[in-house]
Symmetry: C2
Subunit: 179 residues, 2 copies
């Protein structure tokens, strides 16, 4: 199963984006520099610009891939469970923990939607919107809770001993009642 977002790039650009992803996840956000990425590829930084317009476009490609993977994971989670909100929450947290640096990249700044593969953002949001019967306000509130929990956990903002499973449960229960 090949990414639609990547399939729109030239083969060389695709390689660069895939290398960038490994670099980002393995060595952290600071490692995602054009020079370090180039070094990893065995070329010079300026050569990357033959394949990608600039760093924003590289990041947008990574973010698009992230959304695609989220869409797939979230759809599966709902399919496999009869408590869709709890399942989505678990899948959401899982994605963030498994690829913390990609998750940060995907959420830490305003999105350049014009650079994203079209539809990927909506596709990632659909499973939750379906799970709440199309209630957009409710979906947004639940998303905010899940993102808050995920990013505060990644950024180690909760005290060391905090029982995060319990906090997740607390939120999932709260959002389980009727609106």
């Amino acid at each position: 199963m090949v990414s639609y977002a990547l399939s729109r790039l030239t083969p060389r650009a695709r390689e660069i984006v895939q290398t960038a992803r490994q670099l980002l996840e393995r060595d952290g956000p600071d490692a995602l520099s054009m020079r370090r990425l180039a070094a990893q590829l065995g070329i010079r930084a300026s050569s990357i610009y033959e394949h990608l317009r600039d760093k924003q476009e590289l990041e947008a490609a990574l973010i698009s891939v992230g959304f695609e993977e989220q869409a797939e994971l979230f759809a599966q989670a709902v399919r496999r469970s009869d408590a869709p909100i709890a399942a989505l929450a678990a899948a959401y947290r899982d994605f963030a923990r498994r690829q913390p640096n990609l998750y940060r990249l995907m959420t830490e700044r305003p999105l350049r939607r014009d650079l994203l593969a079209s539809g990927v953002e909506e596709a990632a949001a659909m499973p939750l919107l379906d799970a709440v019967g199309g209630d957009r306000d409710r979906a947004r509130a639940i998303w905010a809770f899940a993102h808050g929990m995920a990013i505060l956990e990644l950024n180690q903002r909760f005290p060391p001993g905090a029982d995060l499973d319990a906090a997740w449960r607390e939120g999932i229960e709260a959002f389980h009642g009727a609106s």
Copy 2:
């Protein structure tokens, strides 16, 4: 009313931190560079290091001030309302919208707690913990929701027409029932 966090600095360091805050809020996060800050002060970047150890310490001072102001605002919000959770949510959102760049700085990365003025983080968290009767899991879930809403709004992650008031209400209602 003078900040405790700032009062621990030398007078010159205090001026630098205050100038940094104006610069950050007026010109955005990219403007908070040692060189630009120095230019604003009429000196060279290297001179700042006479007064603050490094950029991390500067940021920690800004963050400490932010926590102090939050603590004050949140305490007031609870005092003035008999629906403490709704009042805290409103105050939280308000703080983030009024000082978006300081709010981002305060939340976007792991905290260097060793550089923070002691107690400020806890002081900002107390009003909510009190409002939920000391239930830490519940307080964390509510905080995650509020932070998620605030940062997603600041980062323009909701669709342009989204009714964020409604989403906030949705979350506040959800967390209003008994645990």
